[in-house]
């Protein structure tokens, strides 16, 4: 994985988040406290703004720098979670490399695992993990099978959407929505939505 790719992905993610402002914001207003869009946008903008400091670095060092920076800029629940993802990916690539698709899938999986650890959460609790976990699993499997790139990207995109939609009917047991019990049902989780939007944007970018 090239640092240039990471930077292009960050820009794509930022654009996609901004394009979905209204929806993401209203979701966190419905079952959260209304700041998720702002937090995620702040995160994306921060990364995009780091372009020059990162350009020259190898991918693992860039990811490390991004994770540390996100940890001190995003805040909220999503801050430490997303930061953990980047820091774990950096560590994994540093150790196992990040050039081949299976290596990248493994790094992403390690990042998602770090979110599970930090959030003490898992699939089915109405969080971003309902998007990230299935995507990571499918990514690893298909990368190992060495499948067609286009098919891979389409599948991941679909996985992300399904995971996001699945949160609608869940009762949350983690995050702010957990305080709502039954009342959270019928609302998509904002973190799941933002994760799906970003994954979708990156898949589109990679498909170009």
């Amino acid at each position: 994985m090239q640092t240039a790719t990471i930077l292009r992905a960050a820009a794509a993610a930022r654009d996609a988040i901004v394009a979905n402002e209204a929806l993401i914001e209203s979701l966190d207003r419905e079952i959260g406290d209304g700041d998720h869009y702002i937090n995620i946008r702040r995160g994306c903008q921060t990364v995009v703004a780091m372009r020059d400091d990162l350009a020259a670095l190898p991918a693992d060092a860039a990811l490390q720098k991004i994770g540390t920076k996100l940890l001190s800029t995003v805040g909220g629940a999503s801050g430490p979670l997303i930061a953990s993802l980047f820091l774990a990916m950096a560590r994994n690539i540093k150790e196992n490399g990040g050039d081949t698709l299976p290596q990248i899938a493994a790094a992403f999986t390690a990042g998602v695992e770090a979110i599970r650890q930090r959030g003490r959460a898992d699939v089915g609790e109405k969080t971003m993990l309902d998007v990230l976990v299935p995507v990571a699993q499918t990514f690893s499997r298909m990368a190992a099978e060495g499948c067609d790139r286009r098919l891979l990207l389409e599948t991941l995109k679909r996985e992300a959407e399904q995971g996001m939609l699945a949160t609608r009917d869940m009762i949350a047991s983690k995050g702010r929505a957990a305080f709502l019990g039954e009342r959270a049902i019928g609302h998509i989780d904002p973190g799941a939505k933002s994760s799906q939007v970003i994954i979708g944007a990156i898949c589109d970018l990679a498909a170009e």
Binding site: D33, D35, N39, G79, P80
Partner: protein, 329 residues
Amino acid sequence: MKKFINAIDDLLAESLSGFAGAHRELVSLHLEPTYITRAEKARDKVVLISGGGSGHEPLHAGYVGHGMLDAACPGHVFTSPTPDQMLAAAEAVECGRGVLFIVKNYAGDVMNFEMAAEMLPYEQATVITSDDVAVENSTYTTGRRGVAGTVIVEKCVGSLAETGADLATCKALGDKVNSRTASMGVALTSCTVPAAGRPTFDIAHHELEMGVGIHGEPGRRREPMRQANAIVADMIEAILHDLKPARGSEVLLLVNGFTGTPLMELYLIYHEAARMLEKRGLIIRRSLVGDYVTSLEMAGASVTVCLLDEEIRRHWDAQVQTAALRWGR
């Protein structure tokens, strides 16, 4: 959205600089990362550090000072602060006896303070406040929200820390006070996160939100607006159902405004709440009425009851010199 602000991105910094300027003799403001400390660094005591999203003023910066907090870390509006703030604050105030974090129970606050704790080069412990009985524990796993009761925890532990008590003792008192404190809130209007620019929730003129959170999170149920005594009766009901105090218990009664409700109405709520508690055979030994843990401009209030014992009462009465609480000596 109608607020006294310039640019949304400057709101926090400008407001904090106003706070620090208005209370020069009590606090100092530090930027990049942002945290507030006492003007005069304490010595040879466990240091108390709290923090959370902004928009709940005077929480937490208003409670920095002798007898209460050593430092506070404000995040963006309704967004928990970040570990670098907590680390910098700890480094600035730690004085050899360790650091106690006081954290309201929200995923964001808990995780950010947790990461700070993991990186902290000092002996450290954390008290998590979770006094909001609007949230019935059973239904999920993360416990209840920390709301107005947090002030009582910070006040009592703050007093104990001044006596030179060690970290474990301070943490134990914090957990005890939290376990003996229960709160219930109700909203008449919504709040508006400046960066969002629109009300967090819609509420009709004839409705109230029973059990609302201090971020405008939905509560137990949306209800028709009623007379104060009926509303307060439900709040007291929920609180006593949780605390199950024995007749004759001594309590601290805190009626907290979220901002938009006039003091005149808060005192009326106090009047109703006190009547009901006394009818249940409880003795109101200490009282506090005012805006202590707010929710931006929201109209509404919360009632908090803390079961006193000799230790808690003594620490509640102890001298405190902060922007928002000041008594004794």
